[in-house]
């Protein structure tokens, strides 16, 4: 039986359209403004499509040496950090998924406790400082290297792998380390992609660690540059200014362009993220 399309359905679709539009429209607007000419932006005429299309703002953003350096920094932090986080979490999760490991339950309790209790901002800061990590690349990748949620999600995934994998490895004379790298990891590409993307996005977006652990402007990631440009300049002069080249650029359009440039990598990997993460996010929630 098939109920017909009634008032309820019309309302339903209206609300859902509203939700989708509110998630998407801010980005459309920012892209449109950042690609528009000075006059339409100052007059407030840009809503959906760029008017007097030009790339001046983007040229200005890419000509800014600060942004270029921050971009490189962010890419380094993200690649290095994701690699470290993924390897440490996957190896840890795999060993915790094996029942016969010595101290397994003790380690599991130790890991789970951190979900509910932590040393807090200042002790963590002092500890990171005592390891001499302040103002190094490592401050951006090590203090948050393992996310306990991600670790538990991976553990649940590994627990579900067929026992035969391990047995066939044992017959071939592999140690657990060999089984993990040569057999288990190749079977776990989907979960590695999902968790890797989670870690990557978190590091790309990380502002907290930079705020706490970095003083040296040469090491700043993009998020700090955006904060300094948009937020610390907030409430200040708004209007057209001469930045770098000879073209007039609206301050606001430049800020939007910076935001877009910062966010584009995430928008680009988003479709891939899409494919995996819903599955990945669910694996952890399937409880026995």
């Amino acid at each position: 039986m098939k109920p017909k399309f009634g008032v309820f359905d019309a309302l339903l679709y209206l609300v859902l359209f509203g939700v989708a539009a509110s998630a998407l429209y801010p980005f459309i607007y920012m892209i449109a403004v950042s690609l528009s000419g000075t006059v339409p932006v100052l007059k407030g005429e840009v809503f959906f499509w760029p008017k007097e299309f030009n790339l001046n703002t983007y040229t200005a953003v890419f000509d800014n040496p600060e942004i270029g350096r921050a971009y490189v920094n962010t890419i380094i932090y993200t690649v290095l950090g994701t690699a470290i986080s993924l390897i440490v979490s996957a190896a840890g999760a795999y060993s915790l998924s094996k029942r016969d490991m010595l101290f397994r339950n003790g380690f599991m309790v130790m890991v789970v406790i951190t979900l509910f209790f932590s040393g807090g901002m200042i002790p963590t800061f002092l500890v990171v400082k005592s390891y001499h990590l302040i103002d190094t690349i490592w401050a951006m990748v090590l203090p948050g290297a393992v996310s306990t949620w991600n670790l538990i999600v991976m553990r649940t995934f590994f627990t579900g792998l067929p026992q035969e994998v391990e047995e066939s490895g044992k017959i071939d004379g592999l140690t657990d380390v060999g089984i993990f790298f040569r057999l288990v990891l190749p079977l776990s590409k989907a979960i590695l992609a999902t968790i890797g993307l989670f870690y990557g996005v978190a590091i790309w977006n990380n502002f907290f660690s930079a705020l706490l652990y970095l003083r040296d402007a040469d090491l700043f990631p993009l998020q700090v540059i955006v904060r300094n440009m948009v937020l610390q300049g907030a409430g200040g002069a708004n209007g057209a200014g001469n930045i770098g080249g000879d073209s007039m650029i609206v301050d606001e359009a430049l800020k939007y362009a910076t935001i877009i440039v910062t966010t584009v990598p995430i928008l680009l990997i988003y479709p891939f993220l899409q494919k995996y993460f819903a599955k990945g996010a669910l694996i952890g929630s399937v409880k026995g």
Binding site: F8, D9, L12, Y13, V15, L16, F17, V19, A20, A23, P26, F27, I87, V88, A91, G92, Y94, S95, L96, D100, M101, L102, F103, F107, M110, F116, F117, S118, G119, G120, M121, I122, P123, L126, V127, Y131, L142, V146, L151, D176, V177, W204, N205, F207, F208, L211, Q223, V224, R227, L231, A234, N238, E252, K255, T262, T263, I266, L273, Q274, L282
Partner: protein, 301 residues
Amino acid sequence: MALLRLRWNRSKYLLLLFLPALVYYVMFKYVPMFGILISFKDYNPFKGIWQSEWVGLKYYEMFFHSPDFPKLLKNTILLGVYKVVFGFPAPIILALLLNEVRKGVVKRLVQSISYLPHFISNVVVVSMMFLFLSPTSGLVNHVVEWMGYSSINFMQNENYFRTLYILSEIWQHIGWETIIYLAALSAIDPQLYEAATVDGASRWHQLRHVTLPGIMPAIVILFILNIGHVLDIGFEKVLLMLNPSIYSTADVLSTYVFRTGIQAMNYSYGTAIDLFTSVVNLLFILTANWISRRTSETSLW
């Protein structure tokens, strides 16, 4: 002894795989927990954690008697409570709405789009708020002026802070948080709906008697987890939104810890406030779990 040796031999390579994670947890999670000791000491950077002098509860008393204490506690709790009251039901409602959609394409499209803001950084989200809400050039104030009102300086007005914080939280996370509810919804036995339809149950009745009971365990679990973070207000976002003109509503425990603890280097004092926050959070989650175990079948442990 022999048994232990056997188990050791069985698991030495597994332990080797666990070693990096163990080192991480000890170095970055457990050593800081011992660092909490400095909240009972007069921390002196030159003497270090162990050599600094004990002062007992001095910093706790200082905090509880500080004129900022009632304001900070009120701001933090209000923000946390509003977040639960408005932010917690939002994804449930969206999931229930999505569940009513019969066209798979529409459902998937809305879902995919609504996840997007979850992956945008707090810096960008707050930047967008400042730009969109700017009194001179912001899109929102263009609309406000177009409707005949004078423009409002949203981000500098303490009366708007809580609303803006909660609304932007919902905007960021509503789509993402539906995932778990949608999974719970898809696990409901379709036969229950068929039986309900045969019995003449309307859409509303089905929602009330089949759908909601079906996802109740998921709701309870997530509610307990949410309660455990009532005082755990997202530090990054509040700090980014914060400016002195809105301290009266926006200054929360964690931003105060950052200002007095890290920036002004009152390490012991800041740590005392941090520990107070952690302990209250822990009490909240233990209580919520206990109540839930008593009243329903569902609990975290």
